[in-house]
């Protein structure tokens, strides 16, 4: 018997990996993309250096929204106990 719940679980684990990759790209990309120059030439957003604002503040906010959307759209609720499945 192939447990259907595991299929769901596997797909959701893969989504988790996808989210981590997106997370890393935003965090790392903005930090070193915008932050690599001379600190004297930084631009500032709301008082923070631009790299820091996009990587650590906006990026984090974006991830939280993305995770929420992904949970709503793709994650299924399944029972944990075996008995509930057999019934």
């Amino acid at each position: 018997m192939k447990d259907q719940r595991f299929k769901i679980a596997h797909r959701e684990a893969l989504i988790g990996i996808g989210l981590v990759i997106v997370n890393f790209a935003i965090w790392f990309g903005f930090a070193y993309g915008l932050g690599s120059g001379d600190p004297a030439n930084y631009t500032y957003v709301f008082g923070f250096p631009a790299w820091f604002f996009y990587s650590c503040i906006a990026g984090t906010g974006f991830m939280i929204i993305l995770i929420w959307v992904v949970l709503k759209l793709f994650f299924k609720e399944v029972p944990f106990d075996d008995e509930e499945v057999d019934q």
Binding site: L19, N23, W27, A31, G35, A40, F48, F52, W68
Partner: protein, 481 residues
């Protein structure tokens, strides 16, 4: 003595004790002592589990050590700290359903129970038990020291007295209340951590005369403080991105976190936990480390990093608010230490005592053993903590990395790869731990990468190769994965 500060702290302790006593009632009325004491009867809802996860994860180093390092290194350290964001969602997404289902099917109470059923190997059980005991013991010591230092700096008591006060408070509620007390106090402590972070962040920004002002004085002092590379340019992209493995995704391999994925009530509470956990961990990690950086112009010239956070709080906040905020690192420390204590004692009781010493033990004997073991471990840690090392962060991270190197593939591949077998697991655990210790001791940053990178990558390939080479021995076995 700052009495106005101490009153909120005492209130906090009273609440925590109350929860311990209340949980003890559940333990007395429960028909399965083990399930109740070590997993809280698997009844935890989303909010509580999100909070226990982040409270366990957020430790003294997030509140005391971390901001201290941020103080010296600048915004680059905040960037590094934000690598921890995935800890809020990744672990749950990976373990979520599958682990919860299998753990229930196996009636597993500890992570080692799962490994024992999955691999059917005594060597794995013993290796896991040893690494949990050794590494978590050192992590616990770091937390004890952190808690004691904190009380020391708040009350002016000497270190030893502070240590005993702190350790006694934790030991009492953990020993009498078990996992339910740990999870519920974690929920209180996690909330205090989030609220305390926000209050202190606002207070610091106001004290520093606004973000623009603070950034300008940082640039005036050393422009590198606002770069992603750290004050001395030591945070290279390679180091930072490999550090991500340690504190972001490698967290999957931490037993004290993984075991929390076994105690969920249903998958609905898991979904809720993912989102709450991510928001909470984002707020705490971002807030506390940023506070460390902002503290530099507000409170210049602090030489011991661990003192930045307590001193700053006392300086920028009115005493009563300071008391609430200073309860946050106390909470963080207590909640980490209680999880570790619970895990080490469940390892000793369930995985060693019940497996190898006395398999026939009845409920009364198990109960007695659990109380005694928890108490003894707690006391031994206190003795070790009497002579504390200097910087908490590193000691704590040493334990993190070691456990990750040992467990990550054994758990993850055991869960998701049919061909994973005990030979692969054993060789990978041993080589992961050996490599980690050797690299940490002798070559701390190979090619500028964080210590944990090579052990984790190498133990993955070793696991896969050995499992494939020995797969012919496991043809007939049926697996639940």
């Amino acid at each position: 003595m700052h009495w106005q500060v101490i009153v909120p702290l005492l209130l906090f302790l009273v609440i925590i004790f109350g929860i311990g006593i209340w949980s003890n009632k559940h333990i007395r009325s429960s028909n399965s002592f083990l399930q109740e004491y070590f997993l809280g009867g698997r009844e935890m809802g989303g909010f509580i589990l999100a909070m226990t996860m982040i409270a366990t994860y957020g430790s003294a180093s997030s509140f005391i050590g971390g901001p201290g390092v941020a103080y010296t290194k600048g915004l680059g350290w905040v960037l590094l700290a934000m690598a921890q964001l995935p800890a809020g969602y990744f672990v749950l997404m990976i373990f979520r359903k599958k682990f919860a289902i299998i753990a229930r099917r196996y009636q597993a109470i500890t992570l080692i129970d799962f490994l024992r059923e999955r691999y059917k190997s005594h060597v794995i059980v013993i290796l896991s038990a040893i690494s949990i005991i050794v590494f978590l013991f050192s992590a616990m010591m770091a937390q004890w020291v952190g808690g004691a230092r904190l009380i020391e700096s708040l009350t002016g008591l000497n270190y030893t007295t502070a240590l005993f006060i702190f350790a006694f408070s934790v030991l009492v509620y953990v020993i009498i209340g078990g996992f339910r007390a740990v999870a519920l106090t974690d929920a209180v402590q996690g909330s205090i951590m989030v609220i305390g972070t926000i209050i202190l962040l606002i207070g610091t920004v106001i004290a520093g005369g606004g973000i623009d002002n603070i950034m300008a004085s940082l640039v005036a002092e050393n422009p590198n403080l606002v770069s992603p590379f750290g004050a001395e340019g030591e945070l290279t992209p390679l180091y930072v991105s490999t550090f991500w493995i340690l504190i972001g995704i490698g967290v999957v391999g931490l037993p004290q976190i993984a075991v929390r994925a076994m105690s969920y009530k249903d998958s609905r509470s898991m979904h809720l936990a993912i989102i709450i956990g991510t928001i909470a961990i984002g707020t705490i990690m971002f807030g506390m480390h940023l506070i460390g950086v902002l503290a530099r112009p507000v409170l210049p010239g602090i030489e011991i990093g661990d003192k930045v956070m307590p001193l700053l709080t006392l300086k920028v906040l009115p005493p009563f608010l300071a008391g609430i905020v200073l309860a946050a690192p106390m909470a963080a420390t207590m909640s980490t230490v209680n999880a570790l204590l619970m895990l080490v004692s469940s390892t000793v009781v369930k995985d060693i005592y019940l497996n190898y010493i006395k398999p026939t033990a009845n409920d009364t004997e198990i109960k007695r053993a659990s109380f005694i073991v928890t108490a003894v471990i707690g006391l031994v840690v206190i003795i070790f903590a009497l002579n504390p090392p200097d910087l908490l962060v590193w000691l704590n991270l040493f334990a993190f990395g070691g456990l990750e190197a040992v467990f990550i593939w054994t758990v993850v591949l055991g869960l998701y790869w049919k061909k994973a077998n005990k030979y692969g697991a054993i060789v990978s655990m041993i080589s992961g731990m050996t490599l980690y210790i050797i690299i940490d001791r002798f070559y701390p940053s190979v090619f500028g990468m964080h210590t944990v990178t090579i052990p984790i990558v190498a133990s993955f390939f070793i696991f896969v190769i050995v499992s494939l080479l020995t797969s012919h021995k496991f043809k007939e076995e049926k697996l639940f994965i």
